[in-house]
């Protein structure tokens, strides 16, 4: 087991992580925060659509879909037995 940092869109289906940072403007961060995706929040990736489509995550007890462009700007920390850090 090791701790890994990766982007939200790099997570695999069913994987849990904790949001550690945002790489984006205040507007984007506020909007995500209001929906529960904030620093320190546990998130789980449910599915990611092919061809650069959105990812569906579970956070704060709800499911939200966010575009890949935004998912790339959310940095999460995961505990993973695999991975190649």
């Amino acid at each position: 087991m090791r701790v890994l940092q990766k982007r939200l869109d790099q997570m695999v289906g069913g994987e849990w992580g904790v949001v550690v940072a945002f790489d984006g403007g205040l507007g984007m961060v506020r909007r995500l925060e209001a929906m529960g995706l904030r620093r320190g929040a546990p998130v789980r990736l449910l599915s990611s659509q092919p061809l650069g489509g959105p990812v569906v995550i579970e956070v704060a007890g709800t499911r939200i879909a966010i575009g890949r462009g935004i998912a790339k700007r959310v940095i999460v920390q995961t505990c993973s037995a695999t991975g190649d850090a």
Partner: protein, 570 residues
């Protein structure tokens, strides 16, 4: 006193509002159903309050026009009724704490309480009430449980006494930790279906099955209602009445043609033809009630089911990356679906899109390539004698225009489409009574808003024909309509009337005996060239004059180009 129902999207504010006031508003199972506020009256202990159904918002810093409406309204509130989804307490409390900072009297409503209980979520409401310093009421808006308690609590609303400390989310976390207990449980069947609908491998095939079944059902229900109920009613009960009237009026003349319409040659002499005679009492009643209403009912029944189930946002997620190529994100599919029923609510629904550019593209595409159900049902009737293949060809042509149009607009208009951020509501089995009520509301809207226009349109057609205006218009537009598009001169009048009502316009094509190719061209051009007047007015309000003028130019150009191309190719 102004009471505002405020909360996150899709927590049931609109159902609560309908229940409290008796004023019916459309409610569905997806975030962003309400894009404009509704107002009603609410009797309290010793006064009557004005109560507002406010569009949902996640925070008091708005990110879309609908949220802007919400935030502006909250500031005017005397009492805020903060509605929460009890199954999503943590996410919902964030807005609650932001509202607490406004120091207005608040009542907290934990809605969807029954589902929370069933799914093993326990919330200590008394403790929550003490922590926040406001009354807390639990409700199930769908069944009306808890509403009288809510009415009493509004009178006791107090400004929250909770002290806000720095990071709101951390505070939310502490409150939730103290008041909520969740039992672990297994995934339900609906949850598994939900996952399958957005899974990369099963999502698209399921979407094809669901949409295919939806359109099949609409046609099956619509056609069955027409052939087994409406046609027999008109043929066996209404026909003798109109025939008697026709005899009294002497079989011809101005009043005869206006009320009964022109008699059409048949195998055994001249007779009234409900779809061709064009009298107020023949075609004027037949079009809205026998040809259009069955399809409107069928469409809204199926759409309302998909809405209340919660399918639309999932479809939005599935086709998001495709929709970006057309200049909008996946939720752009919502105004398109609503537009299939009627373009007016479709135009309003473009408010779920965040940027002006997206809304312009969505509204233009909808007005161009999404025919409303009234028009579609008439086209189905017109094309029926050539078989289903022609109907499919018309639909495929419009779909191609929709895709090509979006692609071009996305290329030409500078800017990018913002990324999708949307909450996926849980699948919920639709509540039958609420669903039927919604279908009835939408049908009533059609009867009230559309039927007078249809009758007025038929009246106007008769008057303009009898004074020769429509023939003159036909001659003037001959170069475009007849030469370029290969349509008969008299089709021009139909195109012109499309501005008033598209169903009447398609009805005007019926007596022209178009061949399959002309039927296809006329149906497509009639959809493309201009929205009906009701949609036009709403679009001016939503887009402003300048953008609407641009959209109009695009529509007219598309109509001429597509009409001529189809005429050349086919």
């Amino acid at each position: 006193m102004k009471v505002m129902l405020v909360g996150n999207p899709n927590v049931g504010k609109s159902v609560l509002f309908s229940r409290l006031t008796g004023v019916n508003v459309v409610a569905s199972n997806y975030p962003g159903t309400t894009v404009e506020f509704a107002r009603g009256r609410l009797k309290l202990k010793d006064e009557t309050a004005e109560i507002y159904d406010v569009p949902g918002t996640y925070s008091i810093e708005p990110t879309s026009p609908a949220e802007e409406v919400a935030v502006n309204l909250i500031k005017e509130a005397d009492v805020v009724v903060n509605v929460l989804d009890a199954t999503r307490l943590e996410r919902n409390l964030y807005l609650t704490l932001q509202i607490a900072a406004l120091a207005k009297p608040v009542v907290l409503v934990l809605n969807i309480w029954d589902e929370a209980r069933h799914t093993g979520i326990h919330i200590d409401t008394e403790h929550l009430s003490r922590l926040l310093g406001v009354p807390v009421v639990t409700t199930c808006a769908l069944t009306g449980e808890g509403l009288s308690e809510l009415q009493r609590a509004i009178a006791d609303a107090t400004p929250p006494s909770i002290k806000l400390e720095g990071d709101l989310w951390a505070q939310v976390g502490r409150i939730v930790g103290e008041v909520q207990k969740i039992e672990r449980r297994h995934h339900t069947l609906l949850e598994r279906l939900s996952d399958a609908c957005m899974h990369p491998s099963t999502g698209l095939p399921l979407a094809a099955v669901i949409l295919g079944a939806a359109f099949y059902l609409v046609r099956l229900i619509g056609e069955s209602l027409i052939s087994y109920i409406m046609e027999p009613l008109f043929e066996h009960i209404w026909r003798p009445v109109v025939e008697q009237l026709s005899v009294w009026l002497g079989g011809s003349g101005f009043w005869h043609d206006l009320l009964v319409g022109q008699l059409v040659p048949t195998d055994n002499g001249y007779a009234i033809d409900f779809s061709q005679s064009f009298g107020l009492l023949s075609t004027g009643l037949y079009v809205p009630f026998a040809a259009v209403l069955p399809y409107i009912f069928a469409f809204y029944l199926v759409l309302s089911f998909l809405e209340d189930l919660g399918y639309l946002p999932r479809l939005g997620v599935l086709i998001d990356s495709f929709m970006h190529r057309l200049g909008m994100h996946g939720l752009g599919i919502v105004p398109m679906f609503l537009g299939l029923g009627c373009n007016v609510p479709g135009a309003l629904a473009t408010r779920v899109l965040e940027s002006r550019r997206e809304r312009f593209i969505a509204a233009t595409l909808m007005a161009i390539a999404v025919p409303c159900m009234a028009q579609l049902s008439m086209i189905a009737g017109l094309a029926a004698k050539f078989g289903v293949a022609l109907l499919v060809a018309i639909a495929a042509t419009l779909l191609a225009i929709w895709i090509a149009g979006g692609y071009i607009l996305n290329l030409l208009i500078p800017g990018e489409s913002p990324a999708l951020i949307v909450e996926i509501p849980p699948y919920r089995l639709p509540h039958i009574r609420t669903l039927l009520k919604k279908v009835w509301m939408r049908i009533r809207w059609f009867l009230k808003e559309a039927v007078p226009f249809v009758l007025g349109g038929v009246l106007l057609v008769n008057i303009l024909y009898s004074v020769g205006v429509l023939d003159w218009v036909g001659r003037v537009a001959r170069p475009v309509v007849a030469t370029l598009m290969g349509l008969p001169e008299r089709a021009t009048a139909a195109l012109l009337f499309g501005f008033l009502r598209k169903d009447v316009a398609v009805g005007m094509l019926a007596p022209l005996n178009l061949d399959p190719k002309q039927t296809l061209i006329a149906s497509v051009v009639l959809s493309v060239y201009f929205p009906c007047v009701a949609t036009f007015v709403v679009l001016i309000r939503e887009l402003g004059w300048r953008l609407m003028l641009a959209a109009t130019a695009i529509m007219l150009a598309t109509a001429v180009v597509v009409g001529s191309l189809l005429n050349l190719i086919l």
